[in-house]
Structures are given as structure tokens and as C-alpha cells.
């Protein structure tokens, strides 16, 4: 093998290797990742019948806690459970039918409005949708 052929082979070979090194990430990128979608806009919070009237359940919505409430009138309501004062998690108080934050006595109604206490902003309300045996919660809008 003469010098010229060697250089040509070397050039072509290293080019092919470089191309492969670039093709590998491209192919891995295109193959779908495990978590199929970017935004968790809809979450299955509970099963129908799981919650008795005047009770609630805390569930994970995306990466934050949310609360699904079956009010004493049998209506399903879902809100963010992150208190707008200092981000403690609120709980549903069955005796008053309100959301109560034990950290500094904040209180919210079923529409997320602040009834009393230090929270400065209302809780975000989510949409509830019943599909078959599942209760889905999704962001509004």
C-alpha cells in the first residue's frame, strides 16, 4: 500500500467513524423517550366511587400536590394543594367543608378563594372530568 492510498483510507475511514459518532445521538434522539409527553396536562386522580361525599384525596399532579374533593353535595372539585402563603400542603376539613392549611391557619373555600388567614392569593382550580371508571383532573384553559 502506497502513501497516497493510506492517506485516502485514513481520511475516508476517520470520516466514516465521525459520521457514525454523529449518527448515534441522532438515532437515539428520534427514538421515543420513556415518558412519552412533555406536559402532564391530565392526570387520573381517583376511581369513581373511591371518595365518599365530604371527603378528599391528595394526589400528585405533575410534580406538585393537588387535592380532589367530593363535597357534601356530591360535587367533584379539584384544586392545587400548595398553600399560597408559605407552600405547605393544605388539607380538607370535613367539619367546615373548607381547605385548611395547618401551618399558619390559612383557609380556602371550594372555589379556591382565601376565606381567612395569611395566604395572599387564591388556590388554582383544576377541571374535573369523569371518563368511565376514572376521574381525570386537568389544568384549566
Amino acid at each position: 500500500m502506497n502513501r497516497r492510498r493510506f492517506i485516502n483510507l485514513f481520511t475516508g475511514g476517520s470520516f466514516a467513524a465521525t459520521l457514525a459518532a454523529f449518527l448515534y445521538p441522532v438515532i437515539r434522539y428520534v427514538l421515543p423517550p420513556k415518558q412519552a409527553e412533555a406536559v402532564q396536562k391530565k392526570v387520573a386522580a381517583a376511581k369513581v366511587g373511591e371518595l365518599a361525599p365530604n371527603s378528599a384525596k391528595i394526589f400528585k399532579f405533575g410534580s406538585t400536590p393537588a387535592v380532589l374533593i367530593n363535597t357534601s353535595e356530591g360535587k367533584l372539585v379539584a384544586l392545587s394543594a400548595v398553600c399560597t402563603h408559605l407552600t405547605c400542603t393544605v388539607t380538607y376539613e370535613t367539619s367546615t367543608g373548607t381547605l385548611y392549611c395547618p401551618c399558619h391557619n390559612g383557609r380556602f373555600d371550594m372555589a379556591g378563594h382565601v376565606i381567612s388567614g395569611p395566604p395572599p392569593k387564591p388556590l388554582e382550580v383544576y377541571d374535573v372530568e369523569v371518563a368511565g371508571p376514572d376521574i381525570f383532573v386537568a389544568k384549566r384553559g
Binding site: P25, V26, R28, Y29, V30, L31, P33, K34, Q35, E37, A38, V39, K41, K139, G141
Partner: protein
């Protein structure tokens, strides 16, 4: 191996008739002299634009142009998609590198007076390509929908809105409404992936065609001296490739050690962050606007600056026709000094923006 390759070539040549193309490219020569280093920047720009198209198309696979999902989709690409961090960081870094290279390309051709006859149209298309790529940068910057992008877009379009007569109308057309909103995101996405690529494709086609047809311009000083010439194919191509390889290494290193940040999701109701400014390639104009006093004689300061920049841009665009001496292949020191002045102005004001962050306040 060789015979196989020759068979393939023969098959294609019968159908595509390569002979003419091969003959032409064998004859095409590129001059080699003390300034021919600057010849490579056009090719580098083309290469980087190619990277942008490739990575941009890849990003399209996972990006969603909706204000509810844009930021989340970018975060998804950065954290969950395999090599998503790499594709996205390459796209963001190369955008900035490309615009930097474009400025180098533009100023080097200006100082070497490559715009003189018969290459006036190359310069004209080149100028508009720069404008297009800065528009690419401006529209692309909004797409991740983070705090910086939202407010930088607001500041930038406010400046567009302050233009005399057409300002408010222009601002509404750019934004798709009275303020930065979903309409703006959809519109900027459309600019970025459809309208601007189409326009850039046509202008680049004309630009490259002209370069291929007319060959490389030789500076006036060198013109009469004898100089070496190398063939475009394959010698110049190999040299081009070496430059591109080095750039790729640079991009790789920078993307692994300084991946592009996702940022905080845009919230129109928060206050504008202090010291908000557009991307670095707009800062020289931005800082000029901040430094100029409110009123100069009987003109409103801002309007005067915008007018001056537009006049400057027109003079720059028409340099091939204004520079009579260069058109006759004569040395043209006036235009060289003009170029130096404008270059210094851009550099000084860009550096000033970052060295003195609260300038003009």
C-alpha cells in the same frame, strides 16, 4: 471496493450527466495569497447554517409552540429526550456562533472590497441574509417562552413600535396583536420555521450561485501581483472541511460544559427583570438608544437614533455603488476608514453593554 464505486458512478452519470459539472469544478480555481484566510468564512457560515437546519428539524420533533407547553417541551427535551440536551444546546450555541461568523464574513469582505463590480449583488444578497439571520435569532429566542425571552421580545418590539409613522402598525403585525401573547408565539414560530427559511434558501441560492459563477474576489492590492491558485475541488474543499472539523470540536466542548439553560417559565404578570436586554448581536443598537438623551435639538432622541441606524444601514447596503474608487479597482481608503469606524462602534457599544450593565439609567 473501487470497481463497485466506479459502477455506481457510471450508473448515475448515465442518468444525471455529471460530465459538465465535473469539468467545471475541475477548472474552478481559488486564489491563494496573504488574505485568502478570510475566504473560509463564507463556507463556515454555510456549514453552521446547515447545522441549524439539521438541529432545528430535530427540535421540531419534540417542541410545541403553545404558551402552555412551549417551556415544558423545552425542559422535556433537555431532561428526558436522549441527547435532547445536545441537540438543543448545539442549536442555541450555533445560532450565536453563526451570527458572530456572519459579522466576520461581512466585515472581511467589506475591508477586502469584495463588493466591488461585478460582485455588487453578492454583497446585496449577503446584507439581506444577515438581516434574515438576525430575524432568525430574534424569533427563535422567544420560542422557549422563558422569562428572558418574553421580556427581551417585549423590549425589542417596543423599539420597533417607536418608529415614526409605521411604528405602532409594525409592532402589531410583528406581535400578532397588542402585546406578547400566544399569537406572538405562533407567529414567531411561523417566521422561524417557514417564512425565514424559505427566504433564506432563495437568497443563499443566489448568493452561492454568484460566488460559484464569479469566483473569489482578489483584493485590489494583490490583483496585479502574481499569486498561486488552487483548485476548488478537491483542494479548497478539504481545507474547508478542516476548518469545519475544528468548529465542530469547539461546539461539542462548549455544549457539554455549558449547556444552554431552560430558564424560568415566562409570567407576563411579574415585573420586568432589571437589566433586561436583547441578545448580544442587538446590543449595540440597544445601548445606543439608552445612551442618547431624550431630546436632541428638536428631535426625539430615540427616533434620531433609529433614523441614523437606518441611514447607516442603507449606506452600508449601497457601498458597492457608492465606492466609486473600488469600482474602478483603485484603492479606497475612505471606505476602509468608514468600515473601521463602524466596526469599532459596534464592538465598543457591545462591550459597554456588558461592562456597564446599568448604562443609561
Amino acid at each position: 471496493m473501487n470497481r463497485f464505486a466506479r459502477n455506481i458512478y457510471a450508473y448515475l452519470d448515465e442518468r444525471f450527466k455529471f460530465e459538465g459539472l465535473i469539468a467545471y469544478s475541475k477548472h474552478k480555481k481559488v486564489p491563494e495569497h496573504e488574505y485568502s484566510f478570510w475566504y473560509y468564512f463564507g463556507g463556515i457560515s454555510l456549514f453552521l447554517a446547515g447545522i441549524q437546519i439539521a438541529t432545528g428539524i430535530m427540535l421540531l420533533l419534540y417542541y410545541t409552540p403553545s404558551i402552555d407547553a412551549a417551556h415544558e417541551s423545552v425542559q422535556f427535551i433537555m431532561s428526558s429526550v436522549k441527547f435532547g440536551w445536545l441537540i438543543r444546546s448545539v442549536h442555541s450555541w450555533t445560532a450565536n456562533i453563526l451570527i458572530g461568523i456572519l459579522f466576520v464574513h461581512m466585515f472581511s469582505t467589506f475591508f477586502l472590497k469584495a463588493y466591488r463590480k461585478p460582485r455588487e449583488l453578492t454583497w446585496i444578497t449577503g446584507f439581506f441574509l444577515l438581516v434574515l439571520f438576525m430575524a432568525f435569532g430574534f424569533s427563535g429566542y422567544l420560542l422557549p417562552w422563558n422569562e428572558l425571552s418574553y421580556f427581551a421580545t417585549r423590549v425589542g418590539t417596543d423599539i420597533a413600535g417607536s418608529l415614526p409613522l409605521i411604528g405602532p402598525w409594525l409592532k402589531t403585525v410583528i406581535l400578532g396583536g397588542p402585546s406578547v401573547s400566544q399569537a406572538t408565539l405562533s407567529r414567531f414560530f411561523w417566521f422561524h420555521v417557514a417564512l425565514l427559511p424559505l427566504a433564506a434558501f432563495f437568497l443563499m441560492a443566489i448568493h452561492v450561485l454568484l460566488v460559484q459563477t464569479l469566483g473569489m474576489s482578489v483584493p485590489i492590492k494583490i490583483k496585479d501581483k502574481t499569486h498561486k491558485e488552487i483548485s476548488f475541488f478537491p483542494d479548497f474543499i478539504y481545507k474547508d472541511a478542516l476548518g469545519w472539523t475544528l468548529i465542530l470540536v469547539l461546539i461539542g466542548v462548549v455544549c457539554v460544559f455549558l449547556p444552554w439553560e431552560v430558564g424560568k417559565k415566562a409570567d407576563p404578570f411579574t415585573a420586568t427583570p432589571l437589566g433586561i436586554k436583547p441578545e448580544w448581536y442587538f446590543t449595540f443598537m440597544f445601548t445606543t438608544l439608552k445612551l442618547v438623551p431624550g431630546h436632541v435639538l428638536f428631535f426625539e432622541g430615540e427616533q434620531l437614533v433609529i433614523l441614523a441606524i437606518m441611514v447607516g444601514a442603507v449606506i452600508w447596503l449601497l457601498a458597492p455603488y457608492l465606492d466609486r474608487k473600488a469600482a474602478r479597482d483603485k484603492p479606497s481608503p475612505f471606505f476602509t476608514w468608514l468600515g473601521i469606524a463602524i466596526l469599532l462602534y459596534i464592538i465598543v457599544l457591545t462591550v459597554l453593554t456588558y461592562a456597564v450593565p446599568r448604562i443609561g439609567q
